[in-house]
């Protein structure tokens, strides 16, 4: 019920992390991911964790929200960790039957676990602190060099923002239709797989009818306002980088590069 007013994860707050230019944030997140892959030793891992922890604290996003984004991945993290513990060769610590736990295995498992956690926490921080529309704009900006290769970047971005715009609407609509059918005694929770699939028909038919109607309306509205697409469209809220945005950008690039260098030396 709750999530139909927010799309995905955006968690609006007034923080420096939220205010940072979305293009820089997107770029820095990608750079952060690269850095995490280069991190190797205790020092570089420690630094990456410290940086991320600091940014999370600055963002005012409750730590429980970050944990929530990690929850679906617990299985994957445990699975990779266990595989690594048993399959890494090296000095055995414990061994029973055909299993051997090695010192190296534990280290690798630990690193892999931390790496996944850092990656997920870092990228969810981006989606928590940037509205989907800003994110689309940022992607459009970062992809714009592809225009040279005749990739219709503007149209792709427009399609994406329309899709983003309608996801909450359609979710709300789905909820409404589900409620209306539940009020007629529809049961989506019990029964065999087939009967549950059948139970979706009363939702899907009205949902498609309404999606097409909305698409028609939107097309009409865009056309009546002379939308033709193309490159020369201006925006209502252009992304403008301020001086402090640049300072943060350069600062982060330096820190991340430093960590990468440390990682390359195995520190």
């Amino acid at each position: 019920m709750q999530n139909n007013i927010t799309l995905g994860q955006y968690f609006p707050m007034n923080s420096p992390v939220h205010r940072l230019d979305a293009r820089f944030k997107l770029f820095l997140t990608i750079f952060f991911i690269v850095t995490v892959f280069f991190a190797d030793g205790l020092l570089s891992y420690g630094l990456v964790t410290l940086v991320l922890g600091g940014v999370i604290a600055m963002s005012k996003i409750p730590f429980s929200m970050i944990l929530k984004s990690l929850k679906p991945l617990i299985i994957i993290i445990l699975f990779t960790a266990i595989l690594n513990i048993f399959y890494t060769k090296g000095t055995p610590l414990v061994s029973f039957w055909i299993f051997k736990i090695t010192y190296e295995g534990i280290v690798v498992a630990f690193k892999m676990g931390i790496r996944i956690i850092l990656l997920v926490a870092g990228s969810s921080l981006l989606t928590y602190t940037t509205s989907p529309i800003m994110l689309t704009d940022a992607m459009e900006a970062l992809l714009s060099p592809l225009k040279v290769f005749k990739v219709p970047v503007n149209e792709l971005a427009m399609m994406m923002s329309i899709a983003l715009r309608f996801i909450p609407t359609l979710m709300e609509e789905t909820q409404k239709i589900m409620n209306a059918q539940k009020a007629r005694g529809a049961d989506f929770e019990t029964g065999s797989l087939i009967s549950r699939a059948k139970a979706l028909v009363p939702i899907l038919v009205p949902l498609f009818v309404s999606a097409f109607r909305r698409a028609d309306d939107l097309a009409m509205a865009m056309e009546s306002r002379c939308y033709t697409g193309g490159d020369n469209r201006t925006r209502l809220k252009p992304l403008v980088a301020t001086g402090s945005d640049f300072v943060i950008l350069v600062g982060c690039i330096l820190v991340f590069s430093g960590i990468i260098v440390l990682g390359c030396f195995g520190l």
Partner: protein, 297 residues
């Protein structure tokens, strides 16, 4: 014992609160400690400005929404006590959601009306009976039963959707803004349907409306919601005498009452609030005849 039975409300809401988005920045208290009793055979109008919590309230009646705290009792039994109780509430409280025509999905009107009763377990001859009765109750021509619901006109779609709820033979019929978005003729037809249904079946009916004129003319009890509370629960006469309070809640008076308040302020010697045409005509007639006597003397 017998006395307490006859006085038992058919539906009772006890200290009901509902909070949307608890634990997010979008936290919103949509209902705050609401108490309400509905009795057999009442025709209740629920009014209040947009966002006052009307839809949230009525979605608790059949268990679509779970209260954050508080209880919903159907004939004295908590509808959330067991799964069976919740499911029974679905059928005992027929809820027509806002814009119900968007829930039509079958290829014929007949099948669509049958959806609810079938879920309830009604089959065969009995099913055919409830479909036809519901169709007549909403004044839908029977020949439309075999056409596609998507071919009907706006008003017909709305009535077909309402028939889908009536066909479940609920003890209470709840309608969320049943006349929204219809033309005057469509509105009139829906209102006639509602009042006739209540008269013919003797069942409890509650509907949400934006139109003061509508509730003034058909309801015998009015609930006014304001900022997640029930601000008034009284007869139309009492509600429409509290002019200032209504204005402060951003609600308008019925057109007729508005005109009479204006005239009363200018010295028209009628003291009670006037909200139905019949009453207005009677009062004015009395007034004119007494004036005539006055001059005759």
């Amino acid at each position: 014992m017998i006395l307490s039975n006859t006085n038992q409300p058919i539906l009772e809401i006890r200290s009901l609160s509902h909070i949307y988005g608890e634990g997010t920045p979008f936290r919103h208290v949509a209902l705050d400690n609401v108490n309400l009793k509905l009795y057999q055979g009442e025709l209740v109008g629920l009014i209040g400005h947009t966002g006052s919590g009307k839809s949230t309230l009525i979605q608790h009646f059949n268990g679509l929404l779970r209260p954050t705290s508080g209880q919903v009792l159907l004939r004295g039994e908590d509808i959330f006590a067991t799964k069976t109780a919740t499911r029974n509430a679905r059928f005992a409280v027929g809820l027509v959601m806002q814009y119900p025509e968007y829930q039509l999905f079958e290829d014929t009107v007949r099948k669509d009306i049958a959806f609810g009763p079938k879920n309830k377990g009604i089959t065969g001859v009995e099913l055919e009976r409830v479909i036809l009765e519901a169709c007549d109750a909403v004044n839908l021509p029977r020949r439309l039963l075999d056409s596609s619901p998507f071919e009907l006109s706006g008003g017909e779609k709305r009535r077909a959707a309402i028939a889908g709820i009536i066909a479940m033979e609920p003890d209470l019929l709840i309608l969320d803004e049943p006349t929204a978005g219809l033309d005057p003729k469509g509105r009139e037809e829906i209102l006639e349907t509602i009042t006739a249904y209540r008269k013919n079946t003797g069942k409890t009916v509650l509907f949400v409306s934006h139109s003061m004129d509508t509730v003034a003319n058909v309801c015998n009890r009015i609930l006014v919601m304001n900022r997640s509370h029930i601000a008034m629960d009284a007869s139309p006469a009492e509600v429409f005498s509290r002019t200032e309070e209504l204005r402060n809640m951003g609600l308008a008076l019925p057109d007729l009452t508005d005109i009479f308040v204006y005239m009363q302020n200018r010295g028209l010697p009628i003291s009670d609030p006037v909200y139905t045409m019949d009453y207005a005509v009677r009062k004015l007639a009395e007034l004119i005849s007494s004036e005539k006597e006055h001059y005759a003397e």
